[in-house]
């Protein structure tokens, strides 16, 4: 198993993390050593094993669908890096 620079570029795009050449090379080295370590799992036959999706053997509790909070608009917007009245502001998307 080997993760090449092309794969790193692809993952970086999916992750929305920009990487330059130098960083990509370092990441390729790190990820390859981590994946070598992870490959150990292939020693195990797991064809007939059910995947564990939840450690607790309980079903999710249902609750009634009712609004409990008051209008939290001010709180929601309070930490935004850039806002205009009640809106988050982002770079222009549509020309």
């Amino acid at each position: 198993m080997s993760i090449d620079l092309k794969t790193i570029k692809h993952i970086s795009k999916l992750s929305r993390i920009s990487v330059d050449e130098k960083k990509a090379e370092k990441l390729a080295g790190d990820l390859n050593s981590i994946f070598d370590f992870i490959e150990k799992l292939n020693e195990l036959k797991t064809d007939n094993v059910e995947p564990l999706t939840s450690v607790a053997e309980t079903t999710l509790k249902l609750r009634s669908d009712e609004v409990k909070s008051k209008n939290l608009r001010d709180q929601v917007i309070k930490n935004s890096p850039k806002e205009n009245e009640d809106y988050f502001v982002v770079p222009k998307v549509i020309e």
Binding site: L14, L31, I34, V49, A56, L60, Q75, S80, F88
Partner: protein
């Protein structure tokens, strides 16, 4: 009383209840010691003036029926605290001031405790040495330039150095138990679903649990009693009957069956860890426990499975940091460029590494080979524990494969850093409770811990075993105050 900060939580509670001490005296003592201890870098955000004010208010109208009456406390900076900056040790949350409170911290304030500040941690709790924090290394009070463990490294350092009488951390793969072991303190990771995750900055949602860190088992028990509540705001919170842990705490563990898993004797484990474990077995026997050899055959696969599951969940959880709704934003030429620069500049190297691993294992064509495989292995690991618990009540292991290491010693080799969690990770994967208690020192005089793993929801049992063994071990931490100015 000049030695207020040397008192345990239980002693402080007692002294405040019988009015030998006021909350103001106690809070002032811990604030002063924290101020003299800046070299440890245990705090990210200090809130001393507010703490002193709250203590004064408490003293004006003291409610002495509370479980933590007027007790000052600093907490890991992964818990959202209303109106006080919460960073998760990251640049990307450097300016984030929550408008709401985590359930666990709310439970603590409801019992009368007072927030002193927020403690350093690895960025988004991803690390085993506190070296990934945007806010710098934390010093272990045991020795200079020694890591305090991680990710709850500010918490372990602050408790060991007596900057706070007690604290809380979070544990995804060992982040409470490993730092407790490295600093000669006690740390409990509760059963998954015991403590609400509401308001805790998420890392890996199927593994994260909050838990108490303390100087002794009794204090740890009291705090667990306070923080463990059912919470409908966390859909994975479990509505089980919780004990009044501190009332039911007992040293009588006669006849308890304690399992020793042979697979934890890993290659290259230092002899002093092996010796510590043997000593632990003798202590358990002295307490009247019965020792039984058991097997947890898939132990060796826990870490590789963890390094798929945890990064996968992290990559998904951390997708929310996009520079739009809160946190740091870098300017970009367009929306995508803004996202990519924000995340590239806002996250540190280890966090980026884990997001990339997680994104890769979840990406099209690889899901079955990695994530699904890991979830199946996780099932096998849980089955191992289920089998073992047919024969035993609890399991005794070392907490870590070594004592604390020097700052910088392992930063260039991610896999060797990950191996720190070899004994703690299986417990998270199976959702079980585990406690680390200090049990001895290595040749350098650094503390070593033993871990007691319990059945799900059986915190009382492992607390009792820890309480009984603690008395026999009679551990003393070598703290010299070398950092105090």
């Amino acid at each position: 009383m000049s030695d207020i900060t040397k008192q345990s939580l239980s002693e402080l509670v007692e002294n405040i209840k019988c009015k030998k001490l006021s909350s103001s005296e106690v809070t002032k003592a811990f604030v002063e010691r924290s101020e003299k201890s800046k070299e440890l870098n245990a705090y990210i955000t200090e809130d001393y003036a507010n703490a002193l004010n709250k203590a004064k208010k408490f003293d004006e109208k003291p409610n002495l029926d509370l479980k933590l009456p007027g007790i000052p406390m600093a907490v890991k900076d992964l818990f959202c605290t209303r109106d006080l900056r919460t960073t998760a040790g990251s640049k990307i949350l450097n300016n984030f001031v929550p408008t709401y409170e985590s359930t666990v911290t709310q439970n603590i304030w409801n019992e009368g405790a007072i927030l002193m500040g927020k403690l350093n941690c690895d960025e988004f709790a991803m690390g085993s040495s506190n070296e990934t924090s945007f806010f710098g290394n934390v010093q272990n009070p045991i020795d200079k330039n020694l890591v305090p463990g991680g990710s709850s490294g500010g918490s372990s350092s602050a408790v060991a150095a007596q900057l706070t009488p007690i604290t809380i951390g979070t544990d995804t793969g060992g982040s409470i138990r490993q730092p407790a072991s490295f600093t000669g303190t006690v740390g409990l990771k509760p059963t998954y679903g015991s403590c609400s995750r509401y308001g805790i900055v998420a890392f890996a949602s199927s593994l994260d649990q909050a838990g108490p860190m303390a100087q002794n088992v009794k204090d740890c028990t009291l705090l667990q009693e306070v923080i463990s509540t059912y919470d409908e705001k966390d859909s994975t919170s479990i509505d089980f009957k919780r004990n009044e842990y501190s009332k039911e705490l007992t040293k009588d563990i006669k006849g308890k069956k304690i399992g020793i898993p042979k697979e934890y004797r890993v290659d290259g484990m230092p002899k002093e860890i092996e010796d510590l474990w043997k000593k632990g077995i003798e202590y358990a026997k002295d307490c009247g426990a019965e020792i039984i050899d058991i097997s947890l055959p898939h132990t060796n696969y826990a870490l590789p499975a963890y390094y798929i599951v945890a990064p996968a969940e992290a990559s998904s959880n951390l997708a929310r940091y996009d520079g739009v709704k809160y946190g740091f934003r870098a300017e970009g030429e367009n929306l995508i460029d803004m996202y990519e620069k924000t995340r590239s500049e806002g996250f540190g190297a280890e966090v980026q590494r884990r997001i990339m691993i997680g994104t890769y294992v979840l990406s099209s064509g690889y899901y079955d080979a990695y994530y699904l495989k890991a979830q199946k292995v996780r099932k096998l690991i849980k089955n191992d524990f289920d089998e073992a618990y047919k024969k035993v009540d609890a399991i005794l292991t070392p907490s870590t494969p070594s004592s604390a290491f020097k700052i910088g010693e392992k930063t260039n080799d991610p896999v060797s850093m990950y191996l720190n969690d070899i004994f703690t990770v299986p417990v998270n994967l199976a959702g079980l409770p585990g406690i680390s208690i200090p049990a001895g020192h290595d040749a350098k005089g650094y503390p070593l811990g033993l871990q007691i793993i319990g059945k799900a929801f059986d915190e009382q049992n492992i607390l009792n075993i820890a309480y009984a063994m603690e008395e026999k071990i009679n551990f003393k931490n070598n703290i010299t105050d070398w950092w105090v100015k």
